[in-house]
C-alpha cells in the first residue's frame, strides 16, 4: 500500500485517537495468534466502538486499498487472525456485552467479543445451557468460535458452534450491514445465508452481533476415566461405545506423552505408565446417566481397560476436564516448538487413525503427543519439535502431509475444528473437489471484489 499515513489519519478520524495505535509495542503484540511459526505485523490496529464505525472503516479500506483482519482473542490455531501484509487489525475483544438472555425463547444475543465461558456462566445461572466448549473457552470469543465453527469437549452429543447459531449480524466487505436469521426456530425466508458466515474465518464479513440457541441445562453428569495399556484398545473402545448406541457428552482421548505433560502441570494423579486414557462424561436425567455409565464401564473393561474410575464430585469432574483442556499447551513443556494438527476421520476409524499416527511418527523419527475429541473422530496429533532444527522441520512437514493423506483416504478431513486459515491453505485443494473450491472463491470474489477482508486466508482468489 502506498500511503499508510493517509489511511492511519483517516482511520483516526473514524475511531478517535484513543482507539487506534501504530505503536510498535501494540503492533508486535498483535502479530500472532495461537498458531506456531506464523507472525506478521500490521501497520495499524484499531478498536471500533460501533457498527457504523466498522462500516466506515470497511468503505475506507476499499477506497484506500488496505486490508482488514478481524481479531477476537487470538487463540486461533490456523492463523486466522494473524495479520496479512499491509493490514489493519480490527480488535473485537472489547465487544463483550451479553445483550440479552431470553429465557422464554431460550436464546442469547451477544456481542462477538463475549468470552465463551462468560456466556456459559451467565446462561447457566438461568438454568440454561450453551454446549460448545472449546479447550480455549476461558478466553476465546464467540465471534472467533462462529468464524471457526469451533467444536469442544461436548461436541459428540451436542454438536458444534454452527448447531447453535440462529442469527448473525455482520458488516460485509463492501460496507453493507446485514442481519441474517432471527429467534424463529423455523425460518425459510430465502436462501439460508446465515450459514454461509459460520466457519467463514473472517473473510466474508465482520460479525457485530450473534444470536445463539440455548437448551435446558442437563440435570446430572457422570464423569469417568478409563486407562488402557494399548492405544488401539482405547480407540476400539470409542467405536464400540458409539456402536452400542450410547452418545456420551464427552469422549476424549489422551496418549501417554500428553498424559505425562498434563500430570506435570496439574498434579491430579494421572498414572505415568498407562498408554492411553479416555475421559468420558454422560449427562442427562440421573436414571439415564446411571445406566449409560454402567454400560460404558463394561465396554471399557471388555476392551481391556485396566482401570475405570468415577469422578467423586462435581469439583473433581471439573478438575479433570480443565486438565484435559490444558493438554495442548502442556505438551509445550517438552520441546521449544509444538505443532498441532486437526485431522478428523469418521468415528469408526479412530483406532486405525491412531495406529497410523504412531506408524508415521516412527517412520519420520519424530516425537508426537496425541490427544483429542476421539468421539468426534477429531484427533490432534501434536509434533514436539524445535523450529531451529531445519532437518527435523523438513521431516515434520512430510509427516503431516502423510497424516493428512491418511485421514483423507479414510474419508476424513484435514481440519475438524481449527479451520484452514494460513496454516492449511496449501492442503485445501487436496481435500476439496475443484468445483467446491471454485464455488468458495466465487463467493469470496462476489462479496469482496477488492479482497480487503482477511486476504490470503483459506485460499487465494
Amino acid at each position: 500500500m502506498q500511503n499508510r499515513t493517509e489511511a492511519t489519519a483517516a482511520l483516526d478520524k473514524i475511531v478517535g485517537e484513543k482507539n487506534i495505535s501504530t505503536a510498535p509495542e501494540d503492533l508486535i503484540s498483535l502479530s500472532y495468534d495461537g498458531t506456531p511459526l506464523l507472525e506478521q505485523m500490521p501497520f495499524c490496529t484499531i478498536s471500533p466502538q460501533s457498527g457504523e464505525e466498522i462500516c466506515a472503516i470497511v468503505r475506507l479500506a476499499n477506497e484506500l486499498n488496505f486490508s482488514i483482519v478481524p481479531r477476537g482473542s487470538g487463540t486461533g490455531l490456523s492463523g486466522g487472525s494473524v495479520p496479512a501484509a499491509d493490514c489493519v487489525v480490527l480488535q473485537m475483544q472489547h465487544w463483550d456485552k451479553i445483550i440479552e438472555i431470553d429465557e422464554e425463547n431460550m436464546t442469547a444475543t451477544v456481542e462477538p467479543g463475549v468470552i465463551t465461558q462468560d456466556l456459559h456462566t451467565a446462561v447457566e445461572k438461568a438454568g440454561l445451557f450453551y454446549p460448545p466448549d472449546p479447550g480455549s473457552m476461558k478466553i476465546c470469543t464467540i465471534g472467533g468460535n462462529v468464524a471457526e465453527n469451533s467444536g469442544g469437549l461436548r461436541g459428540l452429543k451436542y454438536g458444534v458452534t454452527s448447531d447453535y447459531v440462529m442469527g448473525i449480524e455482520a458488516v460485509l466487505p463492501d460496507g453493507r450491514w446485514v442481519s441474517l436469521g432471527n429467534k424463529c426456530v423455523k425460518n425459510v425466508s430465502g436462501i439460508n445465508l446465515k450459514d454461509l458466515f459460520i466457519g467463514s474465518e473472517g473473510i466474508l464479513g465482520i460479525f457485530t452481533q450473534i444470536l445463539l440457541k440455548l437448551i435446558p441445562k442437563p440435570q446430572d453428569q457422570k464423569t469417568m476415566l478409563a486407562f488402557f495399556d494399548a492405544i488401539e484398545d482405547a480407540g476400539e473402545t470409542v467405536s464400540a461405545i458409539i456402536a452400542a448406541k450410547i452418545i456420551p457428552c464427552t469422549l476424549e482421548f489422551l496418549d501417554q506423552t500428553t498424559m505425562r505433560c498434563v500430570e506435570d502441570f496439574t498434579h491430579i494423579g494421572l498414572p505415568q505408565d498407562a498408554e492411553a486414557l479416555l475421559l468420558i462424561e454422560v449427562d442427562g436425567d440421573a436414571s439415564i446417566t446411571e445406566r449409560e455409565a454402567q454400560q460404558i464401564i463394561e465396554t471399557c473393561k471388555k476392551y481391556n481397560a485396566h482401570e475405570v474410575k468415577f469422578a467423586k464430585s462435581k469439583e473433581e469432574a471439573e478438575r479433570l476436564k480443565t486438565a484435559r483442556r490444558s493438554a495442548f499447551t502442556a505438551l509445550a513443556r517438552l520441546k521449544p516448538t509444538t505443532i498441532l494438527e486437526d485431522a478428523t476421520v469418521p468415528r469408526d476409524k479412530v483406532a486405525a487413525m491412531l495406529r497410523k499416527i504412531q506408524e508415521i511418527a516412527r517412520k519420520y523419527d519424530l516425537t508426537f503427543g496425541t490427544f483429542g475429541h476421539a468421539g468426534d473422530g477429531n484427533l490432534h496429533p501434536t509434533c514436539l519439535t524445535d523450529e531451529r532444527d531445519k532437518g527435523e522441520m523438513k521431516r515434520v512437514e512430510e509427516a503431516f502431509e502423510e497424516i493428512f493423506n491418511a485421514a483423507l483416504a479414510m474419508g476424513g478431513t484435514i481440519t475438524g475444528e481449527h479451520g484452514i486459515g494460513l496454516a492449511k491453505k496449501n492442503f485445501l485443494a487436496k481435500s476439496e473437489l475443484p468445483a467446491n473450491l471454485q464455488l468458495m472463491q466465487q463467493i469470496k470474489r462476489t462479496l469482496d471484489p477488492k479482497n480487503i477482508l482477511n486476504p490470503g486466508k483459506v485460499f487465494d482468489v
Binding site: 505503536a23 510498535p24 509495542e25 501494540d26 508486535i28 503484540s29 498483535l30 502479530s31 500472532y32 495468534d33 495461537g34 506456531p36 482473542s73 487470538g74 487463540t75 475483544q93 472489547h94 463483550d96 468470552i115 465461558q117 480455549s136 476461558k138 478466553i139 476465546c140 505433560c261 498434563v262 506435570d264 502441570f265 490444558s326 493438554a327 495442548f328 499447551t329 502442556a330 509445550a332 513443556r333 521449544p336 516448538t337 509444538t338
Partner: protein, 433 residues
C-alpha cells in the same frame, strides 16, 4: 536478527521460547482483564521482551512502562500449562532496564538513602518508622512537610500517605528476645526473619510467629543484627546490595546450623526461595544455595512439622486472601487454610477470586495508584461478599493494602495473619485453664 549484542543477556532464549502463545494465561492476568490490551497481557509482554532480546524492538519508554505496569503477581505462571517461568522473565527484564537506564540524580539519591542505607540496616528503618508513628499519632503533617521541603516525591507522597501502614506501637526487638527457647522438648532450631516492613508495621505477626513456633517445639533465633531479606534492593535493580544482605543474614543467623529460616511475609519468602536462580548461581554450596534450601514460609513449616491443633475456640468467620507471592510464587495454598481451619469455632468462608491480586504488588500501589485502587475495589467486593469478619492474609504488602481497603470502604473487617489467629487460639487455652 540483529547482530548487535542483545540487551537482555540474562534471559535464556529457552525461557522465552517456552511460551507457545496459546493465550490460556490471559483471563488470569489482572492488567489484561482491566485493559483488554494484548500488550498488557503475559503473552504480549513475553513477545515484546523476545522482540527486544532479538533486536527487533528498542527499549522504548512504552516498553518500559508496559514492564512496570505488570504487577509481577505471577497469576499467569500458575495458569500456564507450558510452565513458562514468567516471574523470572519479567524480573530479569526489569533488572536489565534498570541497568541500562541512565541514572538520574533523583534515583541515585533514592538508592543511596533508601536502599543502601535504610533497608540495609534495620535500625535505620526503625528510626524512620518511629518518625512515621509520631506523624500518625500526632496528626502533624510533619513528614509530609519534611519531604516537601526536600522536594523529593512530594506530589506522590500526598497521594499515597493514606496508604501508609499503621506503625506498630513496639517493634519486634522490643517485644521479642534474641532467643526464644522451645516450650517443652526442643525438636527444631529455626531462625525468624523479622522482615523490614513487617518488623515496624506488623510486629505482632512476628511475636505470634515466634510464640507459635516455640509452642510447637522450636528454639527460635531472632538475632538483632539481621537485615531486610534483600528483595527491596533487588527489585530496585541493585543485585549487589541484595547479595550483601543475603550473605549477612546467612552469617548472623548462622544458617547452616538451623533447620529452617522462617518467613511470615510471602514476598520475602518467594525472593529467598528463588535467590539461587535470581543470581544465576551455579554454585551448590554458597550462601544462595543455603538460603534457598532453608527458607520456609511459616504456614508451610507448621504443616510440615504437624503443628498442634489449638484446644480453645475463636468464634469467628474468616475469609482467606491468597497472597500472589505465596499462591503463585511459592505454590502454597492449602497450608494457611489448614492453619485457619484447625482453630475450633473458626469458619473459613472462601471468597471469589481469592488469588486475584489485591493491588499491593510491592510498591505498585505507589507507582500505579489508579490500577491498584481498581484492584483493591474488586478485592474488597469479594471480601465483603463472604460476610466474614476477618480477612486473613499472609503477606505484609497485602495486609497493608487490605487494611487500607478496610478504612477506605469503611467496613468493620479486620486483617489478620493466619499465624496471629493461631496464636490467639493458643493464648485462649491458657486463659481458660
Amino acid at each position: 536478527m540483529n547482530s548487535e549484542p542483545t540487551p537482555f543477556p540474562a534471559i535464556p532464549d529457552d525461557f522465552l521460547r517456552q511460551c507457545m502463545h496459546c493465550g490460556m494465561c490471559l483471563p488470569t492476568c489482572p492488567t489484561y482483564v482491566l485493559t483488554k490490551r494484548e500488550r498488557s497481557s503475559p503473552r504480549g509482554r513475553i513477545r515484546l521482551i523476545k522482540s527486544v532480546a532479538e533486536g527487533k524492538l528498542a527499549v522504548t519508554a512504552q516498553f518500559v512502562e508496559e514492564m512496570n505496569f505488570c504487577l509481577d503477581c505471577r497469576a499467569c505462571e500458575t495458569a500456564c500449562p507450558a510452565g513458562v517461568k514468567y516471574g523470572r522473565i519479567i524480573e530479569e527484564t526489569r533488572y536489565a532496564i534498570l541497568q541500562q537506564k541512565p541514572v538520574t540524580f533523583k534515583t541515585r539519591i533514592f538508592k543511596k538513602i533508601v536502599l543502601n542505607s535504610i533497608f540495609a540496616k534495620q535500625s535505620r528503618l526503625r528510626f524512620i518508622a518511629r518518625l512515621i508513628r509520631f506523624y500518625q499519632r500526632s496528626g502533624l503533617e510533619l513528614l509530609n512537610l519534611a519531604f516537601n521541603l526536600a522536594g523529593f516525591f512530594s506530589k506522590k507522597l500526598k497521594e499515597i500517605s493514606p496508604l501508609a501502614p499503621q506503625i506498630s506501637k513496639k517493634f519486634t526487638a522490643q517485644l521479642l528476645p534474641e532467643f526464644l527457647p522451645a516450650k517443652g522438648v526442643a525438636r527444631f532450631k529455626v531462625g525468624l526473619l523479622a522482615g523490614c516492613v513487617q518488623d515496624v508495621a506488623f510486629a505482632d505477626v512476628n511475636v505470634a510467629t515466634a510464640e507459635v513456633l516455640a509452642l510447637n517445639g522450636c528454639d527460635v533465633y531472632i538475632p538483632r543484627q539481621q537485615c531486610c531479606c534483600g528483595s527491596v534492593a533487588a527489585h530496585a535493580g541493585d543485585l549487589q546490595q541484595a547479595r550483601k544482605q543475603i550473605d549477612r543474614n546467612c552469617r548472623v543467623f548462622n544458617l547452616e546450623k538451623l533447620d529452617a529460616l522462617i518467613i511470615n511475609a510471602a514476598g520475602c519468602g518467594a525472593f529467598l526461595k528463588e535467590s539461587h536462580e535470581i543470581f544465576h548461581s551455579e554454585n551448590s554450596d554458597d550462601s544462595l544455595a543455603l538460603i534457598t534450601a532453608k527458607t520456609k514460609d511459616i504456614s508451610e513449616f507448621l504443616c510440615e512439622i504437624g503443628f498442634r491443633k489449638p484446644q480453645a475456640a475463636l468464634d469467628i468467620e474468616v475469609t482467606y486472601h491468597d497472597a500472589c507471592h505465596l499462591a503463585h510464587g511459592q505454590k502454597i495454598r492449602s497450608a494457611p487454610r489448614q492453619i485457619i481451619q484447625s482453630i475450633p469455632g473458626v469458619q473459613l468462608v472462601e471468597m471469589p477470586e481469592s488469588d486475584w491480586c489485591c493491588g499491593s504488588a510491592g510498591v505498585y500501589n505507589i507507582t500505579h495508584t489508579e490500577t491498584a485502587n481498581a484492584l483493591l475495589e474488586r478485592k474488597m467486593k469479594n471480601c465483603l461478599s463472604t460476610g466474614a469478619r476477618v480477612i486473613a492474609s499472609a503477606n505484609t504488602g497485602c495486609s497493608i493494602q487490605l487494611a487500607y481497603g478496610v478504612r477506605k470502604y469503611k467496613t468493620a473487617m479486620q486483617v489478620r495473619h493466619p499465624v496471629v489467629l493461631l496464636w490467639q487460639a493458643y493464648q485462649r487455652e491458657n486463659s481458660k485453664a
